[in-house]
C-alpha cells in the first residue's frame, strides 16, 4: 500500500515539474488528442466521458485498495441547484473538475476542495422536449475548450478558464423532438455528437464538428436514405423518415483502426413494428465509422425490427484480449438492453458470442451470426426483460486486471407490450402503443426517477451488479440488490469496484469476488457513472446521488 502511494506521489511530482501534462515547452496547451489517446499515462485525470477511448471506465489509480477502502471518508459535496436526475460524469484535468448540472449548466471546481471557479448557466429553449428527463451526461474537452450538447439540440463551445461561451451550433430542430443529452466525444480536432428523439419520430444521426469553428465535418444518418444500402429494411414507404434510431450515449474509439463506435437507439414508433416492416437498419445496432469521414465501416444489429424499445445505445467497451497463440484479439464487449451480453470482433463486427445475463423470453437464443431466434409472447403476457431492459444507460466497466466485464442489471423484470397504430406529427410523441405493468394492480417500477419509497417490491424486479467472464459468457459472481439499479460502474487497478443503486447506497466491492468492502448511504438515487481522479498524490472517488455530487478519499 505504501509503495503504491509513493508511486503516485512520484508521478505527481513529475507532473509538477512539467507544470501539467498539458504543458509543452512551458506552454499550457490544455487537453490534446494525444493526451486523451494516452489517458492511461495520467490516471489522476479523467479526460473523456468513460475515462479513455476504450470506454472501460477503469482507473489505474490504486492508492485506495481493499486494505484501506473501509476508511474512505467524505471530502466534499457539491449540491446542484437542479432537481433533475444527476446523470453526469465529470471531467478532471490537472486539478480542475468540469461538471454539468442538469439540464445544461457547466461548473468548474477545485477538484480537491469542491470550491467553484465559475458557472455557465445555459437556458435551453422552451421548445425542447427530451422524452425522458432534462438531463445531461457530461462534457468533451480539447485544448482549453469544453463542449456541451444541450437538450435543445445545440452544441456549445465554452472557454474552460472563464466559463464564457465561444460559439454555438444549432444541430437540429428541438421543436421536432430533437435533443442531445450525451457527452461529446473528441477525436483529433473534431467534436462528435449524436441526437436523441427516438420517441418523437426523428431521423437519427451522428455528426462531427470542427472544434475551433463548429463547422460540420461529416454526418452519418442512422437510417439510410433512398438509394443507400439498408434503406430497403424500412418497408419501402416513408417509415424511414421518422424511424428514430437516436443516439444518446457517448461512443468509443480505436486509434489503430481509426474507427469510432456508437450504439444506436430504438426504431419508431417504439411498440408497433408493423408500421416499419424489415430489420430497420441501423436501429438497435452498433456502427463502426471512419473517424475522419464518418463513412460506415461495419455494423452489427442486436434487435432487428424491435418490438420492445430495446435501445442499443450502451457504451461500447473495447478490450484487447490476449489470445492463446500470443496474438491479441480486438474485442468489443456489450451488455445490451435486450438482456444478452455480446462479444464482437471490433475489426469487422463479426459476432463471436452472446448469452443472456438476465431472464429473457423475447428470444430463446442467438444464431451463429448473433441474430436473435425470437419467441414473441402471447398478447397480454409479459415479455422479459421489460421496457427499461436488462440494463440501460448505466456505464459498465471492464478491468484488465480481473479480465471481467461488470454491468448493472434488472433481474426478473417484465412488461406487457401493447401495439397500436401511430400517426406521425412533428414534435409529438410517436410511440405506437405502450408497455404495460406485468403485475396488474401493483405499483410499477419507476422508469427514470425513484422516490424515497420502494413499494413495487421484489415481485416486480430486483437489481444486481453482475460480473461476466467474456471468454465464456458465464456469470462469475453477482451482487444482488433489493431494488433495481441505474448506477454506472467503476473499477480500479486495486481490484476494487464502485457502484451505487437506486436505494441511495454507494458500494465498494471486491472486483474478483463481489464481496462488499464498504458502503455509504447518500440519500438519493445514484444514476451516474462513478469515476476516480487524483490531486497532489491523493486518490478520490466520485459518485452523484440525488441532486448532489459526493467525493470520497482516504483520511489525511
Amino acid at each position: 500500500m505504501v509503495k503504491r502511494a509513493v508511486s503516485l506521489i512520484g508521478f505527481m511530482a513529475l507532473c509538477v515539474l512539467f507544470a501539467s501534462p498539458g504543458a509543452v515547452s512551458g506552454q499550457d496547451v490544455g487537453v490534446t488528442f494525444d493526451r486523451i489517446l494516452n489517458a492511461e499515462n495520467e490516471p489522476e485525470n479523467w479526460l473523456t466521458y468513460s475515462g479513455g477511448y476504450d470506454s472501460q471506465r477503469h482507473s489505474t489509480l490504486d492508492q485506495i485498495d481493499s486494505d484501506n477502502v473501509a476508511d474512505l471518508e467524505l471530502k466534499w459535496v457539491y449540491q446542484a441547484e437542479s432537481l433533475d436526475v444527476f446523470q453526469t460524469s465529470p471531467l478532471v484535468v490537472d486539478g480542475i473538475m468540469y461538471l454539468t448540472e442538469a439540464p445544461n449548466t457547466v461548473v468548474a471546481l477545485d477538484a480537491k476542495l469542491g470550491r467553484v471557479f465559475w458557472r455557465y448557466e445555459y437556458t435551453p429553449s422552451n421548445l425542447s422536449r427530451p422524452c425522458c428527463g432534462r438531463v445531461n451526461r457530461g462534457l468533451g474537452m480539447l485544448g482549453h475548450t469544453l463542449f456541451m450538447a444541450t437538450i435543445d439540440a445545440r452544441l456549445i463551445a465554452i472557454d474552460a478558464r472563464t466559463g464564457r461561451p465561444l460559439w454555438f451550433k444549432q444541430i437540429a430542430n428541438p421543436d421536432e423532438g430533437y435533443a442531445m443529452t450525451l457527452a461529446p466525444l473528441i477525436i483529433k480536432d473534431k467534436v462528435i455528437i449524436g441526437v436523441a428523439g427516438g420517441e418523437y419520430g426523428v431521423r437519427g444521426f451522428i455528426a462531427a464538428y470542427e472544434a475551433d469553428t463548429g463547422e460540420e465535418a461529416w454526418r452519418f444518418y442512422t437510417i439510410p436514405g433512398p438509394g443507400e444500402p439498408g434503406h430497403e429494411t424500412w418497408g419501402g414507404g416513408d417509415a424511414w423518415m421518422h424511424g428514430g434510431a437516436s443516439v444518446w450515449l457517448t461512443g468509443s474509439y480505436d486509434p489503430d483502426l481509426n474507427l469510432t463506435y456508437w450504439g444506436i437507439g430504438n426504431p419508431g414508433p417504439d411498440w408497433n413494428p408493423e408500421q416499419r416492416p424489415g430489420d430497420n437498419l441501423y436501429s438497435d445496432c452498433v456502427v463502426a465509422l471512419n473517424a475522419d469521414t464518418g463513412e460506415l465501416e461495419w455494423y452489427f444489429q442486436f434487435t432487428p425490427n424491435d418490438d420492445y424499445d430495446y435501445d442499443s445505445v450502451q457504451i461500447p467497451v473495447l478490450v484487447d484480449y490476449p489470445a492463446q497463440d500470443g496474438s491479441t484479439l480486438k474485442l468489443m464487449l456489450w451488455g445490451n438492453r435486450n438482456g444478452f451480453f455480446y462479444v464482437l470482433d471490433r475489426q469487422n463486427g463479426q459476432f463471436i458470442s452472446g448469452d443472456p445475463y438476465v431472464f429473457v423470453n423475447w428470444a430463446e437464443s442467438l444464431d451463429d451470426n448473433g441474430r436473435p431466434v425470437e419467441t414473441p409472447q402471447a398478447e397480454g403476457e409479459p415479455t422479459f426483460p421489460g421496457v427499461q431492459g436488462g440494463t440501460n444507460w448505466y456505464s459498465p466497466s471492464y478491468s484488465p486486471s480481473t479480465e471481467l466485464f461488470y454491468l448493472s442489471a434488472w433481474e426478473g423484470y417484465g412488461s406487457i407490450f401493447e401495439a397500436e397504430p401511430a400517426e406521425y406529427e412533428p414534435g409529438r410523441l410517436f410511440l405506437g402503443g405502450r408497455p404495460g405493468n406485468a403485475l396488474p394492480g401493483a405499483p410499477v417500477i419507476p422508469g427514470i426517477r425513484r422516490g424515497a419509497i420502494n413499494n413495487w417490491t421484489e415481485a416486480a424486479g430486483t437489481g444486481a451488479l453482475i460480473a461476466i467472464d467474456p471468454a465464456t459468457g458465464d456469470e462469475r459472481w453477482r451482487f444482488d440488490m433489493t431494488d433495481v439499479t441505474s448506477s454506472g460502474v467503476l473499477t480500479t487497478s486495486a481490484d476494487l469496484l464502485f457502484t451505487g443503486n437506486r436505494e441511495g447506497y454507494f458500494h465498494a466491492l471486491d472486483a474478483r469476488t463481489g464481496d462488499l468492502l464498504w458502503r455509504r448511504t447518500l440519500g438519493g438515487m445514484i444514476a451516474n457513472g462513478p469515476m476516480s481522479f487524483g490531486v497532489d498524490g491523493d486518490q478520490f472517488i466520485v459518485a452523484a446521488a440525488g441532486h448532489s455530487l459526493f467525493v470520497f478519499g482516504l483520511p489525511e
Binding site: 463471436i352 458470442s353 394492480g441
Partner: protein, 270 residues
C-alpha cells in the same frame, strides 16, 4: 487454436446451460391478474352507476342521446381504451363534452361500462346500498379487526381502507373480497422477521432496501430492521384475509362494494 475459437467452443456449452436455466425458472408474473382487454364485472357495474349520474344526462341510458353519436356501438374519437380515458378526462374542445376530474378507478369503470353497455342487461345488475354496506363492514364483515378505517381499526395488519377507492378499482376490490390470495398486491404481503434474540415481529412492509426494511408491526408500531442481523425474514404470499364468497350473500357483497367505493379519504385532499 486462437482464443477466438476457444470463445466459440465455450459458448456452445454456455447455451445449453442457459436453456436449462431459462426453462427451469418460474415466471413470477404469469399467474397475476387479468389479460389486457378484459373488463371486470364489478368495474362494468360500477361504471353503470357512474354513467347514470354523470354521462346519461347527455348520452342517455342507451348511449345514443347525442344526435349522430351512439357510444354503445362505437367511439370513433377514441379507438383504444387509452384514448377513451384521455377523452373522458380532457373532454372534446368545441363540443358540449366537458373535461372531468375522475379517479383512476372511476375511469376504469367508465371505460369498462361504455365498452360493454351494448351487451349488458342493466336490469339484471344488482347495485348495492352503501349504508347497508357500511353496517356490514363494521359488523358482520368485521373488517376493522385488521383494516384501519378513519380513526378505528387495527393499524399494522392490512391496507388502510380510509381512502381505498382512490387506489383500487371496483374490480380489484371485488377480487379482494372474493379471492384475497389472488388479489393481494406484492407490497401488502405480510412479512415476518425473527430478530437475533428470537423475538418475532410481524407486520406490513412500508419500504425495503438491500440492507434494511421499514414496517408497521401488528401493534401499529413503526419498526426499522437491519436485515443483516435477522435470523429469518419471510415474505408471506398467502393473504391472512378470509374470502367472503361464502360468508356474505351476493347482495351483501354488492352493498359492501358500494360502501368501499365511497371511501376517498379526506375531502379536498389528494
Amino acid at each position: 487454436m486462437t482464443q477466438g475459437t476457444c470463445f466459440i467452443a465455450m459458448r456452445t456449452l454456455c447455451i445449453v446451460t442457459t436453456i436449462l436455466f431459462l426453462t427451469g425458472l418460474p415466471n413470477p408474473a404469469l399467474a397475476q391478474g387479468d389479460h389486457v382487454g378484459q373488463y371486470a364485472q364489478a368495474d362494468i357495474e360500477y361504471g353503470l352507476r357512474l354513467y347514470r349520474t354523470t354521462c346519461a344526462v347527455c348520452h342517455a341510458e342507451s348511449g345514443a342521446g347525442v344526435p349522430g353519436t351512439d357510444i354503445s356501438s362505437a367511439t370513433p374519437r377514441a379507438q383504444t381504451d387509452f384514448e377513451l380515458v384521455a377523452l373522458i378526462r380532457n373532454g372534446i374542445e368545441g363540443t358540449a363534452m366537458p373535461p372531468g376530474e375522475y379517479a383512476d378507478s372511476e375511469l376504469t369503470a367508465l371505460v369498462a361500462y361504455v365498452r360493454t353497455m351494448a351487451e349488458l342487461d342493466a336490469s339484471n345488475v344488482q347495485l348495492g346500498d352503501a349504508s347497508r354496506g357500511e353496517s356490514l363492514v363494521m359488523g358482520k364483515g368485521d373488517c376493522t379487526s385488521c383494516h384501519r378505517l378513519g380513526n378505528a381499526g387495527a393499524l399494522g395488519m392490512a391496507p388502510e381502507l380510509t381512502a381505498i377507492a382512490a387506489s383500487r378499482t371496483a374490480g380489484a376490490l371485488q377480487a379482494a373480497l372474493l379471492d384475497p390470495n389472488q388479489a393481494m398486491i406484492p407490497i401488502n404481503r405480510p412479512v415476518q422477521a425473527v430478530l437475533s434474540d428470537g423475538t418475532v415481529v410481524s407486520g406490513r412492509r412500508m419500504n425495503e432496501d438491500t440492507y434494511t426494511v421499514q414496517l408497521i408491526d401488528d401493534a401499529g408500531q413503526l419498526r426499522s430492521l437491519d436485515k443483516t442481523t435477522l435470523r429469518e425474514f419471510t415474505v408471506v404470499e398467502e393473504s391472512p384475509m378470509p374470502s367472503y364468497a361464502e360468508t356474505l350473500t351476493t347482495q351483501e357483497i354488492a352493498d359492501v362494494m358500494s360502501y368501499l367505493l365511497t371511501l376517498r379519504g379526506v375531502e379536498g385532499l389528494d
